[in-house]
């Protein structure tokens, strides 16, 4: 991987998985030579992110299941099937998502700070590669929800002057995130340009 520009010491360097997908299958590695594609960014997110994502899905799913389930307990027998069936359906979807999605996200989510740009890959069903050059970065924030705090993680958001150009790197170790914010802020301040 030509990651000459990225700083050493940011943990979780990706094993040199060249495929741009986590879907298994043969992968584009086998497609004809000369097929142009975006290489995956170098760093993976923190491994704990898998657990964090899983917890988030389970909590959201539990809340969604609780509504019809509790209502079913309070209402007479006649209407119960109409609530129990959706509740069971939601529960199944939640469990499947909690098992399947976090590892998939973990395979896809990657980030990198090259010499002059921030580069991320996110998503699962919809994968997205985003590049923002240093000279156009306006703000760099990190934020931590309650769950993220519990797992010692943080999300870094890099915004540009575009209303729709923000890059998000979720699931970073919070110390690493703080360091990243600090470095990016310094780099962008040193880079000339009005960012528009």
């Amino acid at each position: 991987m030509g990651n000459s520009g990225s700083e050493p010491g940011y943990g979780e360097p990706g094993d040199s998985e060249p495929g741009d997908s986590g879907q298994g299958g043969s992968g584009p590695r086998d497609s004809g030579p000369g097929q142009l594609r975006l290489r995956p960014p170098v760093h993976r997110v923190h491994r704990t992110a898998v657990t964090w994502w899983r917890a988030r899905i389970l909590l959201a799913g539990a809340a969604a299941v609780a509504v019809p389930a509790v209502t079913a307990l309070l209402l007479p027998d006649v209407v119960r099937p109409w609530l129990v069936v959706p509740a069971v359906g939601l529960a199944v979807v939640t469990v499947v998502a909690a098992v399947g999605m976090p590892p998939w996200w973990y395979r896809v989510h990657r980030w990198e700070v090259t010499g002059d740009a921030v580069y991320t890959r996110t998503g699962a069903l919809w994968q997205e590669w985003r590049v923002a050059p240093m000279s156009r970065i306006q703000t760099v924030d990190s934020d931590r929800g309650p769950l993220e705090q519990f797992f010692g993680l943080a999300t870094v958001t890099v915004t540009t002057a575009s209303a729709r150009g923000a890059l998000r790197i979720p699931g970073l170790d919070h110390a690493l995130a703080a360091e990243l914010v600090h470095e990016l802020t310094e780099t962008t301040q040193a880079t000339p340009g009005d960012a528009t």
Binding site: P28, L36, A117, G123, Q127, V131, A132, P133, G165
Partner: protein, 499 residues
Amino acid sequence: MPTADSEQGWRRLDARTVRASVVTVAGICVAAGMPTALGIASSSVFWALVTVLPASVAALVAAVVVEHVRLRRTRYRVTADRVELVQGIVVRSRRSVSRDRIRTVDLTAGPQVRIFGIVTVKIDTGEGGSAGGSVSLYAVAREEGERLRAELLDRGGGAGEPVTDGRLATFDPGCVRYAPLSILTPALGAGAYGAVLQVAQWFDLQAGVIGWTVGLLGGLGLVGALAVVVAAGVAIGVVGSLALFVEMWWNFRLDREPGGTLRVRRGLVTVRSISLEEQRLRGVELVEPLGVRTAGAARVDAVATGLRSGGDDKADRKTLLPAAPRGEAHRVAAAVLRERTGPMPAALTPHPRAARGRRIRWALAGAAVPVLTLTALGGLLSSAVLLHLAWIGAALGVPIALALAVDAYRNLGHGLSGDHLVARHGSVRRSTVALQRRGVIGLNARQSLFQRRRGLMTITATTAAGSGAYSVHDVGAAEGLAFADEAVPGLFGPLLERG
């Protein structure tokens, strides 16, 4: 106007503002007072007069007093580097805007303001959200408004240059014919019926109105009556959209002024002057809604930073040219961008066939949802009417959906034209955007599971202007990446590899 403050450059609003405000308040009194008076008069004429008249008089007197005080307490000045405004009757506020942050100076004159020869001036820094970003002067003399506009927007433009350095477009009365083709026509028609029924409901006359209509059209049979109702709705819609278009765009002019400002002036009753610094222009968008496109016309919108769309003006302030013949639209777009050949090349690179398949599948899925719902409901309720509706819906919906899908595919395209990246998509609203390549501040590539299987990708260029992001939809993945790298070198370039 000589005042005690004038040696420090402080100025006051125009005294005629009081009259304009009184006319406005009088209008409100009539609009609100008449229905109220009529309502009360139905029980007692005496009480109607005793309540409504004094209230109106009080409102008018209050308007005169408040406006006099407001005018005395408001002053503004333009210094070498700032525009300052001091205002407020009870709570005094002082607002100061740095002159090099000013992005637009818009002049608006509604009818009640216009007859007194004054205008409302809005000085805006385009920094969305914060209230501190704009200064509004209601109202100053028209000449003073023009003077402020010229002074604030002319950044070191050499003295002695001609006032107008180029007229880019003028109002063509023939273009009024495109107005009824807009979506506004059916909306206004339907809205008119809705308004009649709503008003009738207030007076408990809804059943009466419907009964009267049924009685009137009863002799025509169901089909005939429906035809009359639809025709009347269309007629109302056409008249309404024509009137709106004329009000909005009458005497339209687009000028390029010294100091690098584009200026749009337009309006029949309310006259507006909208300025846009070329420095903030990142491109133009050629918009062709289906109706207008079939008539061979297009509209030109600016893609600029710091333009708040919507806001107090119903017509978007970003429109640089209302619907006009396509050739004219291309000419204006080229003139605005200072490109000789026009930013939209005739031949854009088409996208892979797989993109057509996606569109056809979306269209069929979209058509299937209502048809299947109707069929299922018809089956459940064993209703023949619903089943009939279902097959009629399928017979009409599927061809329309397919036609739109094929059209949408044919409209896909991308290309480079000088300094601009050009991308086109859409069927119901075809949009061709020409975006300045150095205005691109980031690139995104996006692939769904299905796009990946078919080797497609959507490339999005983010920018500080317009909607913030413009996409090349469903382009071949490798081709799209190469195109993005060519259009905006250095962003995707170092990240590309050959697999």
